[in-house]
Symmetry: C2
Subunit: 218 residues, 2 copies
């Protein structure tokens, strides 16, 4: 959003408008963590507003007015408001990544990275679901979620057997989108021991410059 300021100088009233960057955030959400991680890389300053996910504050009218899907994160940069972690990553890469490394703007790079944005917001969310069952008692089918999550980790493991990063030979927003719920999989009782290439990728990711942690991925 934009915030309006007014100062009365006595002889004159001055109004100005400041472009604010806001993240509606929940510390234990892996999806919000994607955004915090990626904002930290170019060092974009922002205000985080903590939303009480545990008590479903994100489903209240205040937040469904901002995102009718009733999900976090929600992101605002001046007048631009975005929902969906992957959409926010695309926006941030285009807006703030001067290296053109995280989402390079040629068709092949974009297509390849986009595959993993779909996986990060799709199949890997089975691991997020398993975690919700284990840590917040969500009434979901744990065995199915774990099995579906293992299926994608197996595919990632084969993919990473010959690669250090998911695409392009260097870190991109593909890695950002897939890292959090893979690193947190153990909290849904999903053991990554069978996926040594995935585990090496997690270690590599954590060693990245400007990496920040969240509880559970230290």
């Amino acid at each position: 959003m934009n915030r309006n300021f007014q100062v009365n100088l006595g002889y004159q009233v001055v109004n100005w408008r400041v472009r604010m960057i806001n993240l509606y955030d929940f510390e234990l959400s892996g999806s919000c963590y994607k955004i915090r991680l990626f904002l930290n890389i170019p060092g974009v300053e922002y205000a985080a507003e903590s939303v009480d996910f545990v008590h479903k504050e994100h489903k209240t009218e205040k937040y469904t007015a901002l995102n009718p899907f009733g999900e976090l994160p929600i992101f605002e940069d001046g007048d631009t408001r975005l929902r969906d972690a992957q959409a926010i990553l695309v926006y941030l890469a285009k807006k703030y990544d001067r290296s053109n490394q995280w989402f390079p703007d040629d068709a092949e790079s974009m297509g390849k990275i986009m595959q993993w944005l779909s996986t990060g917001g799709g199949e890997i969310m089975n691991a997020a679901g398993a975690r919700l069952v284990k840590i917040l008692d969500y009434p979901l089918d744990l065995a199915k979620l774990q099995a579906d999550a293992r299926r994608v980790f197996k595919i990632m493991d084969a993919h990473l057997a010959t690669r250090e990063w998911l695409e392009l030979g260097h870190p991109t927003i593909a890695d950002i989108a897939c890292f959090p719920y893979t690193a947190l999989a153990w909290q849904g009782d999903i053991d990554l021991a069978e996926y040594p290439n995935v585990r090496r990728w997690l270690v590599r990711f954590r060693a990245m410059d400007r990496f920040i942690a969240m509880p559970g991925v230290e």
Copy 2:
């Protein structure tokens, strides 16, 4: 893929390599239809290879070697191979859309469109699931799929109350990603009568230049 040709001219053997565009396709798949639709707009020529989805040919080794996720569509443009309909749309927009209209390359447009790519590959797939139950007897929870699909159609309906297209005031790949399984929702016994703005958007979409149909959306 690329195809190698050889011609023996008598005095000389000539080899050349032709960049081929291939779509591994199933006519009744709404996800494959997204790609056929969008290839038709700039008139990109391609070869379609029909895969027998009904008999799960896409789960056989021949196709899981091309896409380990075992899903259609799979797309090849020369040496570039991509899975996931939304990733393919991003690639095609960047590669073949000279109008820069379908996925404009500024951060705000990309972020806004990307939100609906996530929805098209995510929540709207509940309608695809309901359709699989009804037309192919998939053993899935029909009532839940229908309820989850209705939830997203309700959100889209509110969004489209003040808009002709999902974002930017003109057709983009956001519309392409969301159109097929919305138009096919009736095949999963989901009635769109309650969502008049969605229905008007479907009509508008079908009236687009270079629109092509698939069975069920005529």
